[in-house]
């Protein structure tokens, strides 16, 4: 039951994040919204892992490992986007 609750929370986060990603005009807020979608998706993975608990483990380690990889990738994406934003909001660079 509690697992399901987290699953539904994940689904809601995906929806909220997608909405923000679509309608927010500024890029920084879009980036935040993307991270919300990411959090929702990862939470869904966590729920899947928890549901698949077996063999004495509290969760299936494969989706957990995938989430760890996914979080790092999402961070790299955020860093790249942040750099672009910083360049764009800074003064015009002489070539």
């Amino acid at each position: 039951m509690s697992t399901t609750l987290f699953g539904l929370t994940g689904a809601a986060l995906v929806g909220i994040g997608l909405f923000g990603l679509i309608v927010h005009p500024t890029a920084l807020r879009k980036l935040l919204a993307f991270n919300l979608v990411g959090a929702g998706v990862f939470l869904v993975f966590g729920v899947l892992a928890r549901r698949a608990a077996a063999a004495g483990l509290a969760g299936d380690p494969v989706p957990q490992a995938i989430v760890i990889t996914g979080i790092v990738v999402a961070f790299a994406a955020t860093a790249l986007a942040a750099t672009l934003l910083a360049r764009l909001s800074g003064p015009e660079e002489e070539p």
Partner: protein, 489 residues
């Protein structure tokens, strides 16, 4: 199937090149460091193609000896080696063309270009050989990050904005894809395509996961109407980068869609395929018309890419058989993919040389080009031939096969769209050619002949694909249907 380490090295050689670039940054010129890795990767890809063609079996490797569903495999089948060979040849052509950097190149842009080029190569080879849904995700992210940085390489405001839009939209696509992967795992606890093929059912969860992955990948491949990011990104990147982006990078997500729909769960022909073909048709018609109205050569070529991506999506309803890889629609679509790869790479590189020579790429002011850069222009024209789908070219054979498939399946509207797209493409190519052949004697910077030759060679590759026999091409069926790896022999 043959157990072979070649696919692993094909993925890792460019990574080693990237590491070498980082290690040697301070004392060697980046192109010198990258060159051996470019050569080695080319050799690996071509020898894999040779291996697969001679043995008629895919090359497979289970990493660490761990079999799916726990472990990961890399597998180069017929389609995989075709695309890897395409990638290798295009990359080599681009590398030759970028060997002498343009005059305004800086240490930053040169180092970054070569490093990102190798990164892209690794990502593409991974996308073409991976068998695991999450492995695809990693490949796509490597691809997107490298591609975004390439788009922004010139550092102009326009390029930066284009890169940002590209990145954010690609991320939206990836996250939807990842959600689909999650649902598949929750349903089957398997992410390996061959394993899934044995157990997957067309039930609600599986289909929803497929829809999520497909929609996410469509955003990444810039299928109309999800194309907002592509024109400014491909037109704003430095020309060699545009060539790789347009010719190769948008193909990787498409190939994954194709594999999902063919390898994972063979669906009976129905509404979804028609939707995909419908979007493809809209892409062809709308984007060709817009290409026709562009004032800048690179934007025209970018819109042409959108239209040509549309052709790829026409193939979904055109392979209705139980073994789609035996249908001519399959051969036609994949030939379209390959010939567009060569032709578009040649076209963007030609546009780049034209830009270098003239200092601009305004279509209306290309006069005098024919006299001063005949080789570049010939390459542009030959590539254009393939885009128009005129003989003798890979584009023609591809169009012919798709057309035949459309007639055979009674999809008359698809036949009409293919023909109309060819006419529109001819108009935009001839428009540019007509201006280039006009009188004029603008000041022009010299461009080394070997670079023009590399572009011509790529265009001739597109031409050579026109001599593929007009029938289901045996190479493209090697390794299908997927078989689960039972044990490491």
């Amino acid at each position: 199937m043959t157990v072979s380490l070649l696919p692993v090295w094909a993925v890792l050689t460019p990574v080693l090149g990237l590491c070498a670039l980082l290690l040697c940054e301070r004392w060697m010129r980046p192109e010198r460091v990258a060159a051996p890795f470019v050569g080695l990767s080319l050799y690996l890809s071509l020898s894999m193609t040779y291996e697969v063609m001679t043995s008629q079996a895919p090359l497979v490797y289970a990493l660490g000896g761990w079999l799916p569903p726990l472990g990961l495999t890399l597998r180069a089948d017929g389609v995989g080696v075709l695309l890897m060979a395409l990638t290798a040849l295009v990359m080599t052509g681009v590398a030759i063309c970028a060997w002498t950097p343009p005059g305004d190149a800086t240490a930053r842009s040169r180092f970054s270009f070569w490093a990102l080029l190798l990164a892209l190569w690794s990502a593409l080879n991974l996308a073409f050989t991976a068998q695991d849904l999450f492995n695809f995700f990693v490949a796509l992210e490597m691809l997107s990050f490298a591609a975004v940085a390439l788009v922004a390489l010139d550092g102009t405001r326009g390029a930066l904005i284009a890169a940002l839009r590209y990145l954010l939209f690609a991320l939206a696509g990836s996250i939807l894809y990842l959600l689909g992967v999650g649902l598949i795992y929750g349903r089957y606890a398997v992410l390996d395509l061959a394993g899934l093929r044995e157990i997957a059912q067309p039930d609600t969860v599986t289909l929803a996961a497929l829809a999520l992955m497909t929609a996410g990948l469509m955003a990444k491949t810039a299928l109309f109407p999800l194309h907002l990011w592509l024109p400014p990104a491909h037109a704003g990147a430095p020309a060699p980068a545009s060539a790789v982006l347009s010719a190769l990078v948008v193909k990787a997500p498409f190939l994954i869609i194709l594999r999902l729909w063919v390898d994972l769960l063979p669906l009976p022909a129905a509404a979804p395929q028609q939707i995909m073909a419908g979007l493809g048709a809209a892409a062809i018609l709308v984007c060709s018309v817009i290409a026709l109205r562009q004032q800048r050569l690179k934007l025209m070529i970018a819109y042409s890419t959108l239209a040509q991506v549309g052709y790829l999506f026409l193939m979904f309803p055109l392979m209705p058989g139980p073994a789609p890889w035996q249908d001519i629609g399959w051969t036609g679509g994949l030939l379209q993919l390959a010939s567009h790869g060569f032709a578009k790479a040649a076209m963007f590189l030609a546009a780049g040389l034209i830009y270098e020579a003239l200092g601009h790429d305004r279509v209306a002011e290309l006069g005098g080009l024919a006299r001063r850069q005949p080789v570049t222009l010939a390459a542009f024209a030959i590539a254009g031939l393939s885009l128009m789908g005129l003989p003798p070219s890979g584009g023609f054979i591809a169009k012919l096969l798709l057309l035949t498939a459309a007639v055979e399946t009674g999809a008359w509207w698809i036949a009409a769209v293919i023909l109309a797209g060819g006419i529109l493409a001819a108009f935009y190519v001839f428009r540019a050619l007509g201006h280039a052949l006009a009188d004029g004697d603008p000041p022009m910077a010299p461009v080394a002949l070997y670079r023009q030759g590399a572009v011509l060679a790529l265009a001739l590759c597109a031409l050579a694909l026109g001599f593929v026999p007009l029938r289901p091409f045996a190479l493209l069926a090697i390794g299908r249907p997927l078989e689960a790896l039972e044990a490491m022999p």
